[in-house]
């Protein structure tokens, strides 16, 4: 038996073919992986939407069947705060805020807004925004101090023009030159205009669920009484809260000061902040749907 050396081309050919196949398979797997990433993303969005939808249904059930307190609603099994305090339902962290506790532009107009803005920004800017908004919604062309009318927008080369009618939604506040995206979204742990102000809102004001910073400006109370009222509220001294309100004769549209209304905001949260915002109106007497969706931002998109 003799050793024979084969100087053929089979081995290089096989190696070349293998290299080509490897490149081809890598390309294919990259394509498939991109598609899979997209599908995984879609699936996770759908799963999250389903979870939010289920949690919303559970919250609606409690809202429709529960017993209402000054600041919460409960049905014996679950207690849900309605003043924006965190709660957990169906494994979701959520903050529920009654619309009655927020600033309704339709109910309260522009006049009390300056006080609210003063809680979010410096007083000079608060006065400017308030004047700009007052000029925006009034029907005349007379400019307020610090305000802007049609001619001013034109002179400054701005495209927007005042509506001279009630604003159509809170989003419209962004058209005012002094309102920034940061002020709309909130920053440094402070809420934004979009968190506190509603264009239509409810036709009453609920002292039980309103954020602290709205109490003084909306009720028009002096600071010491506001502080006293907020302290009594956080201590659960509701008879004292009622007494302070009665002393100042505040009521809106003949509703009692703790009337909750039918509209609610739910901010679902994770460690990243608000991840979904759902707003609903309860329809307890409707024959078809027991609630209507007003807002469905899943995932939540901040103002940009």
């Amino acid at each position: 038996m003799t050793n024979q050396s084969h100087g053929g081309f089979a081995l290089p050919l096989v190696l070349i073919v293998l290299a080509l196949l490897t490149v081809l398979s890598m390309g294919l797997s990259r394509l498939v992986s991109m598609d899979m990433d997209f599908l995984r993303e879609r699936i996770s969005v759908w799963e999250y939407e389903l979870e939010i939808s289920n949690a919303t249904e559970s919250i609606v059930f409690v809202l429709l069947t529960g017993e209402y307190g000054y600041q919460s609603v409960g049905n014996g099994k679950v207690e849900l705060p309605l003043n924006g305090r965190p709660a957990e339902i169906n494994g979701q962290r959520v903050r529920i805020q009654s619309w009655s506790g927020l600033y309704s532009m339709a109910l309260l107009g522009v006049n009390r807004l300056e006080g609210v803005l003063g809680e979010l920004t410096n007083s000079q800017r608060a006065r400017q925004i308030s004047a700009e908004l007052a000029d925006w919604v009034d029907e005349d062309d007379r400019r307020r101090f610090r305000g802007r009318e049609r001619a001013d927008y034109a002179n400054e080369g701005l495209r927007q023009r005042p509506r001279n009618a009630p604003i159509r939604g809170v989003d419209e506040l962004l058209e005012l030159p002094s309102v920034s995206v940061r002020l709309m979204n909130g920053s440094d742990g402070k809420p934004g205009l979009a968190d506190l102000i509603l264009a239509g809102g409810e036709d009453n004001f609920d002292v039980g669920t309103a954020p602290d910073m709205l109490i003084g400006p909306v009720l028009g109370l002096p600071e010491p009484i506001t502080r006293e009222l907020i302290a009594a509220r956080s201590d659960g001294q509701w008879s004292k809260v009622l007494f302070l309100i009665d002393q100042n004769h505040w009521s809106f549209n003949h509703h009692p000061p703790f009337y909750k209304g039918q509209k609610y905001r739910m901010d679902f949260q994770s460690d990243r902040g608000v991840t979904a915002r759902v707003e609903i109106e309860l329809k307890p007497y409707a024959t078809r749907r027991l609630y209507h969706l007003i807002e469905w931002q899943v995932p939540y998109r901040e103002y940009e």
């Binding site: 598609d35 997209f38 939604g169 989003d171 969706l293 940009e304």
Partner: protein
């Protein structure tokens, strides 16, 4: 008797013909497999691309804003004008602008003679609306879906029972269109006549592969708006 080693010509011919048949079968299978794989890949790409567009449209419709804008005469109503060929409405989720900027948008079906259709999306200018005038921005437009067939929209009008103090016989033909006891699918929608926003929008079409798609979009019928709801008789 010595038998010569190797294959006879007949054996070789038989072997070659069997090998050729096997090779041709293999090539046929390979080519069919390749073509199937290609079709599958095209299909998957079409599906993924349509799914992506479906999601964008969902965002657009979920962001729909139905404030009461000033309309014809003294009447105010939400802005939603639509027929089988397209829709115009206001949204806070425009696809070509920042989130939260309320703008008019329209989606249009552009057909050719062979019922091939394209789906175009266009945005209006910022700060334009029904109350202050709508101005379309020709630069802010994109071809959303390129190859569609049998495309059309329809709209679910909400129940709007005739108020007890109104008599159908006394209403004009246009006013009569507004009232219905049950939700009803319509091929047109004009809030100047119907006053209320639709409950849902449906887009149906066949894609380039011939597969049928029906996309339903829920529309939040009310928004937080300084509204006339409850302030005008019969409006709610």
């Amino acid at each position: 008797m010595n038998r010569p080693s190797g294959f006879s010509l007949v054996e070789m011919l038989v072997a070659i013909s069997i090998f050729s048949m096997l090779l041709s079968l293999l090539m046929l299978g390979y080519s069919q497999g390749l073509s199937l794989w290609q079709r599958g890949q095209d299909r998957s790409e079409t599906w993924l691309s349509l799914e992506h567009r479906h999601q964008l449209l969902r965002t657009l419709f979920f962001g729909a804003r139905f404030a009461d804008y000033r309309g014809r005469g003294w009447r105010t109503y939400p802005y939603f004008i639509a027929n089988q060929e397209g829709i115009e409405f206001m949204t806070r989720s425009p696809l070509l602008d920042f989130s939260g900027r309320v703008k008019p948008v329209r989606v249009l079906i552009e057909r050719d003679d062979n019922d091939q259709a394209k789906f175009r999306y266009q945005e209006g200018r910022r700060h334009s609306d029904q109350g202050r005038g709508i101005y379309w921005d020709s630069g802010r437009s994109l071809l959303f879906i390129e190859e569609m067939r049998n495309a059309g929209f329809r709209y679910l009008a909400p129940a709007f029972p005739l108020p007890p103090d109104l008599y159908s016989a006394e209403l004009s033909d246009e006013d009569r269109l507004r009232y219905r006891d049950e939700p009803e699918w319509l091929s047109w929608y004009d809030t100047a006549i119907l006053w209320r926003a639709p409950l849902a929008v449906e887009l149906s079409f066949r894609d380039e592969e011939g597969a049928r798609h029906i996309w339903s979009f829920q529309v939040p019928g009310q928004a937080d708006a300084w509204s006339l709801r409850g302030k005008i008789k019969g409006y709610d």
